[in-house]
Symmetry: C3
Subunit: 138 residues, 3 copies
Amino acid sequence: MKSFTRELWFETKKRYELIDITGKVEEALAASGIKEGLLLCNAMHITASVFVNDDERGLHADFLDWLEKVAPHEPVSSYRHNVGEDNADAHIKRQIFGREVVIAITAGKLHFGPWERVFYGEFDGRRRKRVLVKIIGE
Amino acid sequence: MKSFTRELWFETKKRYELIDITGKVEEALAASGIKEGLLLCNAMHITASVFVNDDERGLHADFLDWLEKVAPHEPVSSYRHNVGEDNADAHIKRQIFGREVVIAITAGKLHFGPWERVFYGEFDGRRRKRVLVKIIGE
Amino acid sequence: MKSFTRELWFETKKRYELIDITGKVEEALAASGIKEGLLLCNAMHITASVFVNDDERGLHADFLDWLEKVAPHEPVSSYRHNVGEDNADAHIKRQIFGREVVIAITAGKLHFGPWERVFYGEFDGRRRKRVLVKIIGE
């Protein structure tokens, strides 16, 4: 069994951003030399998500609008976590969209359907954040 | 380390369906010959989910009612994704219910608690869709 | 490839509880002797979650308040599952917060970011429940 580990760094400019990281995940897979196995990709911060969906700008706007509607940032004081913090909503948004994805590796590729892409979802940005890629297989 | 890969195909009749796929996942596991390891089961489409819950008709109706309440299909025009599309809500429903499950394999079986069953959740059906089963172990 | 399996038992006193199980997961990892691989930790019951987030009391109160707002327990009769049951909301809460986490194992440790902790989220407690830890690697 082989294993491979890589941390990806992101510096976001806005509080909320959805970033396509499929290319970076594929680079890690190529560097691993693993042909059959499982790839874990997870946010290393608890106000961010890694998820698989479509690379379509209108949909991403819908995602962020919807998350804001169900778990609004304001009023900041409505959350008990927000004592010296203002990111309770970001923790909740991350819970909804999830921490991680596990992707099958088949014949050296991400075994994806036609529109699957990997995204980093930042809900409390404007500072450096990490995503982990861990691959095991042969 | 062994690995095993199988794609399952579904043709749903309705826009929304929750289909018990536990038997098909168990068939893939038996075919793999793997006794100890991890099994990944994921939707290969971005408007569908794979999840673990109870096989109870009333609960499934509650799931679909609840998803419709928090991420309604109508009005279709309320979503920016819906330009030539009408499935933005299905992308959001899939984000809530998740893309995938990872299941432990112990002694050649799905290592499940008493009521755990695997479901394919379709939120934009009436066409052919795929689910992936990937198993690694020994 | 090595594999390791351990079930953890919990008896919760309240209907809803969020319990930090990071120490128990680390004990299982140490017992496994596995240095590189993947660790799956999942609820074995379908009204409970395992998730990764922050160990902060105010945030946990926010999580439970928010889940109650979006998927309320009352009125019990509003759910079709609740015929001889009263836990349909707990199934929905679990769907939102997820069944499982997959954690990278690197150099014999949970490969975590600065604030990541593992929690068992109970939404229909006051009886014995199980969490599974499965580790594969080398």
